[in-house]
Symmetry: C2
Subunit: 316 residues, 2 copies
Amino acid sequence: MNDTNEVVVFGHRNPDTDSVVSALVFADFLRRIKINAKAYRLNDLDNETKFVLKTAGIEQPDVLPDNLPNGTKVALIDHNESQQSMENLKNMRVTYVIDHHKLGDLTTPEPVFLLFEPVGCAATLITKLYIDNQLDITQQIAMLIVSAIISDTLHFRLPTTTDKDRSIVNYLLPITKIDNVTMYANQMFEANSDLSGLSLQQILQVGFKIFLFNDQQWGVSLLYTIYPNRILESKEGLLQEMVDEKKKSNLTGILFSVVDIFKGQNYMFIIGEPERTVVREAFKANTEKQVADLGSRMSRKKDIIPCLEAYFKTNH
Amino acid sequence: MNDTNEVVVFGHRNPDTDSVVSALVFADFLRRIKINAKAYRLNDLDNETKFVLKTAGIEQPDVLPDNLPNGTKVALIDHNESQQSMENLKNMRVTYVIDHHKLGDLTTPEPVFLLFEPVGCAATLITKLYIDNQLDITQQIAMLIVSAIISDTLHFRLPTTTDKDRSIVNYLLPITKIDNVTMYANQMFEANSDLSGLSLQQILQVGFKIFLFNDQQWGVSLLYTIYPNRILESKEGLLQEMVDEKKKSNLTGILFSVVDIFKGQNYMFIIGEPERTVVREAFKANTEKQVADLGSRMSRKKDIIPCLEAYFKTNH
């Protein structure tokens, strides 16, 4: 099934545009430098990712086989924490990690290739690899990279956006077939906000990631949308899904935010304790209601997780 | 004492040429891209490092102050494991890590800059940063980088050496004032092998690092020398120092190797159990005597630690 010399490349468990696209692009980069590699996905793609792949004319990657031989070389893209990665990661041979998140519980038994920078998008880092290796970038790959940067920075709206992300988009746009980047970004957000056919349980899962704080597992889900009211209308049902998910996954806490892309506004759902105390203390937010106004905290990486880290560092 | 915006740059606790030089070079690189930075050392320099700095005409870095304010930005060079770093690392703000070792227990509360590649020398990676940022490299910096690569690869003898290390040396040599690189390397090895004035306890410490295997602390010391017999003559005294160090530092095990640079030969000292069993099983070595022949295992990174990792993974 899997050529043992092939590097198996994949993004995080709950695929978004950057993680899927960056896996495809990094596998392409490896093949361009004569390293056998193939991109996979760990789960179903969201509508935005499907729209991006269709527009670029690229097939969905295959689902990662669940019977990879122990010792298979893997490249972790856009993630590094075991809770966000494939099952059985500990028996794989991690060979490359390209990421722009905080460094979690990853360790390696040998020196490996790690490229982490606090930029807005993992694909920005991979583009640098093409440039540093003097490789030209095809129209399809450029389409993927520009889409990933638009997605992961919400077209430069998130505070994680850096000059590097902007300059890569400026550099690649002429190679793509995108005429009007604002219009293209809005089409992506429209696809991203299309949750038709999804159950409330699936909506909770769209932006779901698990983090470890003092050995406690916390679920932190962010849903970016241009139609926040459609989600807020289902508040009661979503709160119940959060309660169920917390129990099912044996979490210490669960947080879910609806983020209005255009207004730049975070609404965080609170099911009870210990979430209420944590949200009040970590974000200095008013938590009297079931939905707390977290203001313009749009970025999980920059506005949410560091506050939780700081809170748990002094409260354990 | 320390300007709070300054990035504090340092190598591992037991400084060798690469860790000291790479800290100096990375601090220079940061200043060149307009980031305030200063290199420090965690301990006394060995004779090889002193020879290299003197030849390049560069002052020893200051010793890291032990009262750095919490939250100071730090750059970890040529190491990432807390046991090999400054005391109080957990209260610093790790901002950059440049390394070519396995990834250990480091975690970060926020996305940071990590550049790890399995190359022979950390300075090779920093040179790439100059090149990618189109910065010219001065004669002094070129001298430092070439010296670090010669030191950490034993002038391309170690199996960790890559084409990147070789090509950086070829690229920089014309900028240095080195006429004959073989002769210069031998001068470095001569300085490295000059242990005059060191006690046996200090000789054990020269190449000493602590590693965690299954929460057990193991000391693994490698001494590279062109005069192995001078060390082997002091076998009894060194074995006693190992026993004392193991007790003092509360280690589960302690290993010490004398590596003959020119012959490419590893002699490993064994004080008793559990070391004897571990060395026999991990390296399939004959451990009947107090000094085991480990053959051409010259690299701790590539030939020693991965075998220990594999052993402890299946024996815990």
